[in-house]
C-alpha cells in the first residue's frame, strides 16, 4: 500500500458552494463561471480531447472509464449528428453527489457541456435527470434559461458561431435508466431496457447516431481541466486516480454529507475526520464504498483502503460512484443485504430471465434467513445464484445485485449462520 494522500477538503467542483445564490448566472460569472469558454474555443476540438485524456479524468458515474478515451472512440468519418447525453439519473443507493452540482453550481455543468459539445463536435445535449428530482430539474432548467437569455447557449453559443442546445429530459422512476443504453432508450420514448453492446454508443447511440454519455460530475470537471491543463488537474489525486471526487457518505456516521477531496486519501480518516466518525460512539462494522452494488468491506479492510480506483480494487471492492454507506457494530448484515436485494429485484427491468427470476429468488432466500426460516444450504445456494445471474444478462444490473450478495456472505458468514442456528435474527429490531 502506498502512503495516503493528505486528507483535506479541496475546492475544484465545490469552489462556489459556500456563496449565496451560487446557482445563479450572476454569481457564477462573478466567480469565474464561463471564463474558460474563450480558451476552449481557441483550441482545436481534438486538442481538448487530448487534454482531457491526459488529465486522467475518469467517469464519475460508477464505471470509472477514462473520459477522454471514451470521446476518442467517436468515428472519424461520420455524416450523422453527434449527441451528448449527460447522465443525471443518480439512482445507485448511497449516491447523492450530482444533486449538489445541480443545486449549487449548475452553470459549471452547463459550461462543461458547451466545451464538451465543441470537443466532440456535438450540437445537442440531453441531460437525463431522474424523475424524482422535480425541484432539481426546475433549477437546472432555470439555469439553462438564464444561459440562453445571455446568449451562452443557442444558435451562436457564447458568440462563437457554434450551436449548442441543451434539453432536460426527466425519467420517471427506473433505476435501470442510469445504465447508458437504457438511458438512451428512455430518451427515445421507450421502456428503459438496456441494449446489447457492442455496438457501443460512441458508434451507435441516440437515434442510432454516435453518442457520448458522461456523468454530471465528469462533465462538471471539464472547465477546470481547460483552465489548469491536464497537469494542473493531475496535481490532485494519485497517478492512476487523478483529480478530486465529490464523495458522499451516509448511514451510521455523525456528519453524513458530500465532501470534495483528492483521490487517494485514507478511507478511515475520511470517515473519522470529515464525517465525524461512527455515530453514538460506536465501532465500525462495515462500509459499502461506492454505491450499493460495490462489494462490502469490513472494518479491517477499511483501515487499509485509500479512496481511489486501485486501492478499492486491490481490496476486493470498487470506488464506484463514491457513495459510502457506513454500518455500526450493532447492525445486522443479513438485514442490510435483504434491504439491498429488495431494491435490485424491484429495479430489474425484466428483460433477461436470469436477472428477472434470479434477483427475486435471492431476495426471498435472504428474507427467509433474516426471518429465522433459513437453512445452512441456503448460503451455498445464494452464492450459486449470484454466480449464475452475473455476466449472463444484457446489462450489469444482475451483477450489481450479485456483488453485495456474495460479499456480505463471504465477509459476514458467521452472522448468516447464527440466524440459521438460532432460528431468528439475533439483533434488536
Amino acid at each position: 500500500m502506498t502512503a495516503a494522500v493528505e486528507l483535506k477538503e479541496v475546492k475544484v467542483l465545490s469552489a462556489k458552494y459556500h456563496l449565496k445564490d451560487s446557482f445563479t448566472l450572476e454569481v457564477a460569472r462573478q466567480h469565474g463561471g464561463y471564463s474558460q469558454i474563450d480558451k476552449a474555443f481557441g483550441m482545436e476540438p481534438g486538442d481538448i480531447v487530448e487534454e482531457v485524456k491526459n488529465s486522467g479524468l475518469r467517469g464519475r458515474g460508477g464505471a470509472g472509464f477514462p473520459a477522454g478515451m471514451k470521446w476518442s472512440f467517436l468515428p472519424k468519418d461520420n455524416d450523422k449528428p453527434v449527441y451528448l447525453a449527460v447522465n443525471s439519473d443518480e439512482s445507485e443507493p448511497g449516491t447523492f453527489k450530482d444533486r449538489q452540482i445541480i443545486e449549487k453550481d449548475p452553470h459549471m455543468l452547463i459550461e462543461g457541456i458547451i466545451i464538451t459539445c465543441y470537443a466532440i463536435k456535438a450540437h445537442d445535449a440531453y441531460i437525463y435527470i431522474r424523475g424524482e428530482y422535480v425541484a432539481q430539474a426546475r433549477m437546472l432548467q432555470n439555469a439553462i434559461d438564464e444561459a440562453y437569455e445571455a446568449g451562452l447557449l443557442g444558435e451562436n453559443a457564447c458568440g462563437k458561431g457554434y450551436r449548442v442546445d441543451v434539453t432536460v429530459h426527466s425519467g420517471a422512476g427506473a433505476y435501470v435508466c442510469g445504465e447508458e443504453m437504457a438511458l438512451l432508450e428512455s430518451i427515445e420514448g421507450k421502456k428503459g431496457q438496456p441494449r446489447v453492446k457492442p455496438p457501443f454508443p460512441a458508434l451507435v447511440g441516440l437515434y442510432d447516431a454516435p453518442t457520448i454519455i458522461n456523468n454530471v460530475q465528469t462533465i462538471a470537471s471539464v472547465p477546470y481541466i481547460i483552465e489548469h491543463g491536464a497537469e494542473g488537474y493531475r496535481k490532485f489525486g494519485t497517478e492512476k486516480s487523478a483529480g478530486t471526487f465529490l464523495f458522499g457518505i451516509s448511514g451510521h456516521v455523525e456528519k453524513p454529507g458530500v465532501y470534495e477531496v483528492e483521490m487517494g486519501v485514507s478511507m478511515q480518516e475520511f470517515i473519522d475526520k470529515l464525517a465525524g466518525g461512527v455515530w453514538k460512539g460506536r465501532k465500525l462494522k462495515a462500509v459499502i464504498p461506492g454505491g450499493s452494488s460495490c462489494p462490502v468491506l469490513n472494518a479491517e479492510d477499511v483501515a487499509k483502503c485509500t479512496l481511489d480506483y486501485e486501492s478499492l480494487m486491490e481490496n476486493g471492492s470498487m470506488l464506484g460512484s463514491g457513495g459510502m454507506i457506513v454500518s455500526d457494530d450493532q447492525t445486522c448484515m443479513v438485514r442490510n443485504l435483504k434491504n439491498l436485494l429488495y431494491f435490485y429485484q424491484h429495479e430489474s427491468c425484466g428483460q433477461c430471465t436470469p436477472c428477472r427470476e434470479g434477483l427475486g429468488w435471492m431476495y426471498k432466500v435472504v428474507a427467509d434467513i433474516e426471518d429465522g426460516k433459513g437453512k445452512m444450504e441456503d448460503l451455498d445456494l445464494l452464492l450459486s445464484i449470484a454466480d449464475n445471474v452475473e455476466g449472463k444478462t444484457v446489462c450489469v444490473l444482475s451483477g450489481a445485485a450479485a456483488m453485495p450478495c456474495r460479499s456480505h456472505i463471504l465477509k459476514f458468514r458467521e452472522e448468516f449462520e447464527e440466524h440459521i442456528k438460532l432460528g431468528k435474527c439475533p439483533f434488536p429490531k
Binding site: 420514448g189 421507450k190 451516509s250 448511514g251
Partner: protein, 171 residues
C-alpha cells in the same frame, strides 16, 4: 396490459391538453429531431399527469394520437416507469425512502409513525383523499436519511416530531 386492466384505468371522460399544457407541448416539440416524435412519450405522460394528477387510458390514447405512435407504445412506457399514476391518488403523496441509508437511520420508526398518524399502510390513500402513502426506492438523499418526498419536495433528517410539523401545516 389486458383489456380488463385497460378498462380499469379509464377516466370515462375525454382527455385533451389544456391551453397551458399545449404551449409546453409545442415547446417540447422543438427540442427533439422532427422525425423522433416518440421521444416526447415520457414528457407527454408527465404533462398529462401534471394536468390531471394521474394518467388515464384516455390520456394515453390522446398522447399516442399526438405523437403518431401506436397506443401500446404509450401503455408500455406508462406501466414500466413507477412514477406514472394509473389511478387518482391523494392530494398529498408521501413517498418514504425505504433503501439502506434511510433504513440505517430509522426509516422504520418514521413509517410506523406516519402509518399510525394517518391510519393507512403503504399503497393506501386516506378516506378523505388527502394523503397517499408509498414506500419507494432510493431517492438520492442518503445523507439526509430518513427522508420523504412530499409531492415535489424533499424533506430530510426526519423525526416523528418533524413529520408532524410538516404534515400538520399543510393546507
Amino acid at each position: 396490459m389486458s383489456a380488463e386492466e385497460r378498462k380499469a384505468i379509464r377516466a370515462d371522460k375525454p382527455f385533451a391538453f389544456s391551453e397551458e399544457t399545449e404551449r409546453k407541448f409545442q415547446q417540447l416539440l422543438t427540442r427533439y429531431p422532427k422525425d423522433q416524435k416518440k421521444s416526447l412519450n415520457l414528457p407527454c405522460l408527465w404533462l398529462a399527469q401534471r394536468q390531471e394528477g394521474w394518467v388515464s387510458a384516455e390520456a394515453m390514447e390522446y398522447i399516442a394520437e399526438r405523437l403518431e405512435i401506436p397506443v401500446t407504445d404509450v401503455y408500455e412506457v406508462a406501466t414500466f416507469y413507477t412514477m406514472y399514476h394509473l389511478h387518482p391518488i391523494g392530494k398529498y403523496h408521501i413517498q418514504l425512502c425505504r433503501t439502506l441509508s434511510c433504513e440505517l437511520r430509522g426509516k422504520e420508526e418514521i413509517l410506523k409513525h406516519i402509518s399510525k398518524k394517518l391510519g393507512i399502510k403503504p399503497g393506501q390513500t386516506t378516506a378523505d383523499g388527502r394523503f397517499t402513502l408509498s414506500q419507494v426506492e432510493c431517492l438520492a438523499a442518503c445523507g439526509g436519511g430518513p427522508m420523504m418526498q412530499l409531492n415535489d419536495d424533499y424533506h430530510e433528517n426526519l423525526t416523528p416530531e418533524r413529520v408532524d410539523q410538516i404534515l400538520d401545516q399543510l393546507p
